[in-house]
Symmetry: D2
Subunit: 397 residues, 4 copies
């Protein structure tokens, strides 16, 4: 695959903060990227950070990190670390990211960028300042790196859809339909910022804007919390958790679901829905776009496929094509297997760190930027504002 000599390439030390669900996906990405992609730099999994010494040491051993740290500030002091990858809940993003950028570390931060617009603004400002010093940053909207969605972006950019008229996007999950499911951190406003809206709604706001190449200009929204009180959680891991034996409960302080209409800058109408109460839908990030020349449809539950309708085709044979996005000419696919041998969820992160490393090595700004993350945050804030104001139309600043 590689024509050059791996040994001659500069190494790039990575320090990662957090090793829960997102921490595991990022670790797998760092561990895998060099084996498949021809990179100008060699990432080194230098240190993993967690608060519990024993637990972080065990995680580092299992996930392949050379060392474990219990304070993220240690990463900033280490010369062998060039990248800080932040996989913690949203309430700590701003502090860590701004400090890391200040220390001259390139930064990747999980989405949503922050829990508030104010934090996101501070982060975007810090990122802009850092970029002038050649220090790069990126917010990890990993679905941009689903090959089928990257292909979708290409088709829109190539004009294959013409003028976009309709965008409909849903992100449907069902992991908290059981009222006995406990009050994990993702259901608490102080930790998570918002509920379905910020966790998964953020993804469909970003991905539709990315694919369309257009921004949302205003929204009208309704949000709902169907189950208002839940058992307290003893512990939580990833998206699953077990209620403790205790009968103690606490209030759910985030939305269970958010639905909103929107307008895009180019005149398209948008219809959005993010929910954790769509029984039977496990991770159905679905996007449909209708344009004057064609249409696209995607569902992450069939993530290797993109449906494309080309209105320029002869009427008698026109139809939605199921493109199996596994051909060498598809985005990212040249590095992987022969056609028809599918990729999985984790590869979106492998592609993400690949693009990040390429950009940093080339001295360019990776995307999506913190500014992009801030704009998504503003859309989410407008959704909440509109919902609080009787669905009144709320422009995005």
């Amino acid at each position: 695959m590689s024509s050059g000599n791996l040994a001659d390439r500069p190494t790039f030390g990575v320090g990662q903060v957090g090793y829960a669900f997102m921490g595991r996906t990022h670790s797998q990405a760092w561990r895998t990227v060099g084996a498949f992609f021809d990179l100008p730099v060699t990432p080194v999994m230098a240190a993993l950070v967690g608060r519990s010494p024993d637990a972080v040491r065990a995680a580092a051993a299992q996930l392949g990190w050379a060392a474990a740290e219990t304070d993220w500030r240690q990463l900033l002091k280490r010369d062998d670390i060039q990248v800080v990858d932040i996989c913690t809940p949203g309430d700590s993003h701003a502090e860590i990211a701004i400090a890391a950028l200040g220390a001259g570390k390139h930064v990747i931060v999980e989405k949503p960028l922050a829990n508030t617009v104010a934090e996101a603004e501070a982060m975007a400002e810090a990122a802009a300042a850092a970029a002038e010093r050649g220090v790069r940053s990126m917010v990890a909207f990993n679905y941009r790196r689903v090959p089928a969605l990257a292909l979708a972006r290409q088709l829109v950019a190539d004009g294959r859809l013409g003028t976009i008229r309709h965008v409909r996007a849903q992100y449907l999950q069902d992991w908290i339909t059981d009222p006995e499911f406990p009050l994990v951190w993702r259901l608490q406003r102080d930790k998570a910022g918002s509920g379905a809206l910020g966790d998964i709604g953020a993804h469909i706001v970003d991905i539709t804007q990315f694919v369309c190449g257009e921004r949302i200009t205003g929204v009208s929204a309704v949000t709902e919390t169907f189950v208002k009180e839940r058992p307290l959680a003893d512990a939580s891991a990833g998206l699953s958790a077990q209620a403790g034996g205790a009968v103690a409960t606490g209030p759910v302080t985030v939305d269970d679901a958010a639905i909103f209409t929107a307008r895009f800058a180019g005149g398209a109408l948008g219809s959005f829905e993010a929910t954790r109460f769509a029984t039977g839908r496990k991770n159905a990030l679905r996007v449909e776009i209708n344009g004057s020349r064609g249409s696209l449809a995607f569902d992450f539950e069939s993530m290797n496929e993109l449906s494309f309708y080309d209105a320029e085709e002869d009427g008698g044979t026109a139809g939605f094509r199921r493109i199996l996005v596994t051909e060498p000419e598809h985005p990212y696919l040249g590095a992987w297997w022969p056609a028809g041998h599918l990729l999985g969820y984790e590869h979106t992160f492998t592609h993400e760190v690949r693009d990040f490393l390429l950009a940093v090595a080339e001295g360019t700004d990776p995307t999506p930027s913190f500014a992009d993350g801030l704009q998504v945050q503003r859309v989410l804030a407008a959704v909440e504002d509109s919902a609080a104001a009787g669905s009144a139309w709320t422009p995005i600043p």
Copy 2:
């Protein structure tokens, strides 16, 4: 199929007004229903009404009507006619229906019930008065008679979905995406009342309320007319039409698309979209319902199928089932073919007139009633009001 003697059954004269798209579907229904369903009465296709003498005579001959009339008032005078079936554009519904009910004729009227809430109110009032005299009426929301949607209603009524959390419904077509498509009557407010909203949005308002057994209590909406001026049409037939050679154009006075959020009486959130600009979607009436115990999904483009997720199933084998709704135990199917031999669009009308005839013969009120049609009209009006008021939340009276 029939155990009794056909000859002994009372006949039921039908007079139908209109023979365009809807007139043809209703004619096929009247012609077919008796051959498949065991009915207490025998419908007789007595007279077809149209304004042009030659054209209506030719249509009557082709579609199987015994006679042709050029004035619908003639139907009201004929003793051999017990049913008036109104298949005209919405602007004439109120006048014909109220007169026919007044003359003691049972009435079926195509949807939407009327072009305005005021007209619909007058019609509902007339229907209520007529019902006291044993004169029946029905608004023809034919999709209630898609077997898969009738099955959906049964599953919800049987509690298989539990508490409903989410309703998402779209009615997507693409027949006017070409800006050169002419200004047919369906694009003119005075004839059609509204655009996508009243034509196809009305269907998804009705069908979701029917399947859920719950009414919409409020909406927040956005509407749009993408192509604001179109060539004048020489003529129109069904959903297709040809622009004349003339360069003259006229304004489109209805919406091309309407999107809205909603709340249902039982607490569910609704997300609705009706458009004629969904390139590649031909007649995609799609409904998804998520409840605490299960979910349903339907797309009219695969009208013989219903997807059902039963959350009571063991996790290891749970999944959306593709129910091929062609079994003898499915609604209406006992009258048709062996399992797996599909039905088509037209059969929704056959089922509709079957249910109408049964109700009339049994002396009960068929559904959906004019009152149901009026309620749909109120939802449509609220959608327009909300769209005109910056998407402000608008309760349904």
Copy 3:
């Protein structure tokens, strides 16, 4: 639709023999065809034939036939009857068809043409002789008139598939998986000729040859009867029947399933399967064809769709297109509804009698001819011969 005057057209009396499952489909076709298609002649449903006077009289009334007869020979004597439509089990096809052709009646006969090659040869001979006198005949392989399969034929004929390499066809049903299902006539060799092979295997032999425009040249086969003894049936109707209370059973004398490999004249390999034991598959007539330039896939359980892969497309956007075969330019569709408004099973018969009437009126031979039916019979016989000879390769004469 029609520009001419219906009244000026010659009428065409039809006499139909049989009114069970196939008799009902043909009746619906005769009743419907004139309302949708512009025909040079007007079919008249003159007489229905059955053995039981009361039953046939009731059926005639319900299905719309003007008269009932108890002996098919009566049809041959009536001057007002120009067409005899034979919907009886295969053991009576030869006698009725040959007599009817001899009497100068045009003949449609349900498939399979006959129960034996010898009978089929006699019928083909009679048909050839009759054709010289202008008397027409047709075997009713109705699936040729599924619009999606007619479109498939067009695509192959237009060269869109290139050289055909693979044909795989299955006709999967499950209506006799229950060993308590009774011994209906379709399970008895003397009535039905063969089992799944002749009933549904005949369809996939015909349809693949039709779509490919190539004949099968040889086969190697395995057949099986999974349930060898069944309760005697009191009565049977269509594909469903009820076992009598009696414990008496009888031997199943036909195959439950037949699988075979084949070669086509142009070099393609064929893989065929016909079974009544495919649990969950109701009427899954499935055809896939792979050629050097493209591929097709079809499943009757989604009969309004054709999947088409065009290998000439750019690799990045190639994919199987789901063509919704409901556009005006699709075969037969111009006569029906707007795009996206699906057709059902019964209209394969409507299209069949339409094509028959057109051919007869134009003085040409309709297809498939009795000679085509004979060739299918020879393939079926070769399948049985091969199965009896240890799957030895068996050429078709």
Copy 4:
């Protein structure tokens, strides 16, 4: 995930021979398995073997192997290597595997086990002898470790399908439909043993027997080479290759496609097809099984899904369920992501080495064994024999 201490576990040195397509999948498996599965031993990627010193050194660096060797015999001498993983073409399997087992190394060998029955017999014999000494072996039919197919096996083993009546399996690819595609090693009998038959047909023979828990007892077959002469290849990698500029061509000495009927020990009929000429199908390993109580369907192009029809369900709601096989209770899934976050092709290998390591650590024989591989080889040989003998029925010894 792991409760024990990673550092306390014994390490297990792995030496891998080959680093082309299969070598890359196995490398990724060895690199990944420990990060997700709690293993009793820790695999160490000790050495990679290839013939070209420079190339193997570069590959080892990229794929994460500690050392590179140019002779597989070196692996047998190294005490730090306990496992030899053979990823070479089939012609070298027997020699390497027998020597490695003789040297006391546990062995994994890619499928097909060998190019001839004789070689496979020798290997199975060596494996049986080694097992008595506690030396383990496994043939790498990776599709057994697709979670959906492992679930399929469970459902059959649990009796959810009842008596199996039909098995239909296809492995469809299209990578050599272009006659200009060069003569790579997979198209040469001396290297590959056979063509589509051994390469992909072997997989569907193994997987259907595995899922059904029954062996194939006899076959009747047809094979074909559509393109008999191809340009000589300069080089080949994976499934893609480039023709050299030379006009020189050579004969294709293997089958392009093989189709065969089969009988299973329990009475089921089998219909099989393996081809590299199914235009548009990229890696469509498809299996359908119909039993008296239910049915299954699978397509690797949607590898995270299993379709299951349960005939015990109420008729009105029965249907093929699309099980998204990503729940924690599904085979292998507990180690991965939350539900709905899909796995890819490569993880079939991760699961494979996980099962291998577990078996070895527990002192049991992993499956599929060399004896299983030999039996598959006998089926393939019977297919070739039958094809050479006019499709005569050929029992499996």
